[in-house]
């Protein structure tokens, strides 16, 4: 990482697509296995661990892809040349700064939301779960967080939408994002209303999609009472 950006070694070669395809199939297969495990758990009450399947499939299928496609994979390391670097795959410093800033900022707000959700669960649930012999991590995962999700999900949606809108602050570090480009267009053509409508349309589409998804999820985790 330097002020030329974040540079990572790039993978090249003819087998890369095969490895990618193998990885994608592995992800799909892992989902399938998880679904089958859940059905099995509902029917019999036994749960076999998922992680051996995940590791096995995740290594075997890309490996198969590598073997079948000719074993041609090279690592392209970034090398210093002149004032900059060549080779490798780079993330521009502005993009990296934007990512780092947005992630750090939103993470703090999401931390407070999750804390509120977890604190909303009464002490009785902790004590009951611990009396069953569950340790702290399992208590959180199996008992507390599913109940806390009711408090967490609506403000979390707001934070996700905030994250999308804060991307327009990239203009402060010289990264031309949608709002900045439309602003320039607006200034050059004078069509203010159309420009603003474009910005609003773009943001609204993405935001409504995310809202729909999160509201569907919210309904799923809602408390169903008598």
């Amino acid at each position: 990482m330097s002020n030329r950006g974040l540079l990572v070694p790039a993978v090249e070669g003819h087998s890369v697509t095969a490895i990618g395809v193998g990885l994608a199939i592995a992800v799909g297969a892992i989902f399938l296995v998880a679904l089958l495990q859940r059905v099995r758990f509902r029917q019999t009450g036994h749960a076999r661990p998922l992680w051996p399947w995940a590791i096995g499939l995740g290594i075997a299928l890309p490996l198969a892809g590598w073997l079948l496609a000719g074993q041609d994979v090279r690592l392209d390391l970034p090398r210093a040349s002149g004032f900059s670097f060549e080779g490798g795959w780079s993330l521009s410093p502005e993009l990296f700064a934007l990512l780092a800033g947005l992630i750090t900022y939103t993470a703090a707000f999401i931390a407070e939301i999750v804390r509120a959700g977890i604190q909303a669960i009464g002490q009785g649930q902790w004590e009951a779960a611990q009396s069953l012999g569950l340790r702290r991590g399992k208590v959180l995962r199996l008992v507390i967080v599913p109940q806390a999700l009711r408090v967490i999900v609506p403000p979390l949606t707001s934070q996700y939408l905030n994250l999308i809108k804060h991307s327009s602050l990239a203009v402060a570090i010289g990264y031309p994002d949608l709002v900045s480009v439309v602003n320039t267009t607006l200034n050059q053509t004078g069509q203010a209303i159309e420009g603003i409508l474009i910005i609003m349309g773009a943001f609204m589409t993405v935001s409504l999609l995310i809202s729909l998804l999160m509201n569907w999820y919210n309904k799923r985790i809602a408390l169903v009472e008598r």
């Binding site: 707000f109 959700g117 408090v151 403000p155 709002v179 203010a192 209303i193 409504l208 919210n218």
Partner: protein
């Protein structure tokens, strides 16, 4: 608070050296992960602190008379702040009348602090706020009783940021609670309006709302009829904040078990009485952390009003940097206003944790739930 087991060390008013070592051990050294975290943080501090301290304090120039001598110092140039602090803090308010926004700011902050103290609540507080707001309005606008009139395009800096956020939060909060209740109501028209409003406002950036309110609204109004620019910005901020507060309160409302509603029904409370006395207080108590996050974010989002030409704290810092005689001290200016923003946000955050603690104590004293 419900997840940490009670510590064994009793809280004595005086702490012996051994007791505080035990507290340190329990808080940052109680597991391998936390030891690693402590080591990393200490290493980070040791790497960064000497250079920071050097630049901020040791090599900084506090008394340089002009920009050239200041630039020769290899550290920060705080005499820039000494020269420009009145511009940054009060914006374009007339120079000799700047005691007025200063007084207004102090009065506003004082009223907020007074409101935060639990014991002073009651009818008297409403009277206090009415008087305080009238005094603030008189101080800022003038025109009566001997003060010269200063129109509100000349307001700027810290008083403006404070006013936008205080009135924004104060009006957006009840509006947001009503929206949340409306979204959960069973009447389809109300629910549709509330859902539409919340999703629309949440979906667009505040910048475009402000832009819409300042550029598009005058196009739709009849000739010659115009709404004051500051008022437009304030309304946009209130509408924006209300949508976010609505969603947060909705999360709190979802966590209230149905038994509370049934209990309130069984003693014959009407819908509004139920909400006011039973449901909403419990819901609000649960969502204090995200609410406080929203208030803090709103305080900082007031800096977006620059897009419609209003001089808030951030914009007046930029204006101070535009002086060609004192150019190039951007870091000092932004650190200064960063410090001011941080002071306010930290106080809000500290108050919220005090509030949470006192509410948790009340809950322990009267077992229920």
């Amino acid at each position: 608070m419900s997840s940490t087991p009670p510590t064994a060390a009793p809280q004595l008013p005086f702490a012996t050296a051994r007791m505080s070592w035990r507290r340190i051990r329990e808080s940052i050294l109680h597991s391998p992960a936390s030891v690693l975290g402590t080591v990393l943080v200490v290493w980070l501090i040791l790497m960064a602190a000497p250079a920071l301290l050097n630049w901020l304090l040791l090599k900084a120039s506090f008394t340089a008379p002009d920009a050239r001598t200041c630039r020769e110092a290899s550290g920060a140039c705080w005499s820039f702040i000494r020269e420009k602090y009145r511009l940054i803090l009060f914006g374009t308010y007339p120079f000799d009348q700047q005691w007025r926004p200063l007084l207004a700011t102090l009065l506003l902050i004082g009223s907020i602090v007074v409101t935060g103290v639990q014991r002073l609540r009651g009818r008297g507080l409403i009277v206090w706020w009415a008087l305080a707001l009238a005094t603030v309005a008189w101080l800022m606008w003038g025109g009566l009783f001997g003060l010269t009139f200063v129109e509100n395009v000349r307001w700027g800096g810290l008083p403006l940021t404070l006013m936008l956020s205080v009135f924004g939060i104060a009006f957006a909060f009840p509006f947001g609670v009503c929206l949340a209740l409306g979204r959960r109501s069973r009447m389809p028209a109300i629910k549709a309006i509330c859902v539409g409003y919340i999703e629309f406002i949440r979906g667009v950036p505040l910048i475009s709302l402000l832009f819409m309110s300042s550029v598009m609204l005058p196009l739709f109004l009849p000739e010659g009829f115009s709404i004051d620019k500051l008022l437009r910005a304030q309304i946009a901020i209130i509408m924006f904040a209300a949508a976010y507060i609505a969603e947060i309160v909705r999360g709190g409302l979802q966590s209230i078990p149905k038994g509370q509603y049934e209990g309130a029904d069984s003693i014959g409370l009407s819908y509004w009485q139920q909400m006011r006395k039973v449901i909403v207080p419990q819901a609000l108590k649960v969502v204090i952390p995200p609410l406080v996050s929203t208030f803090i974010a709103l305080f900082k989002d007031t800096s977006l009003v620059v897009i419609i030409g209003i001089f808030d704290l951030t914009q007046s810092a930029k204006a101070a940097l535009a002086d060609p005689a004192w150019s190039g001290f951007g870091v000092e200016a932004y650190l200064f206003i960063g410090l001011i923003y941080f002071a306010f946000c930290y106080c809000i955050s500290k108050y919220s944790s005090t509030l949470e603690r006192s509410l948790a104590r009340e809950q322990q004293a009267s077992p229920g739930r």
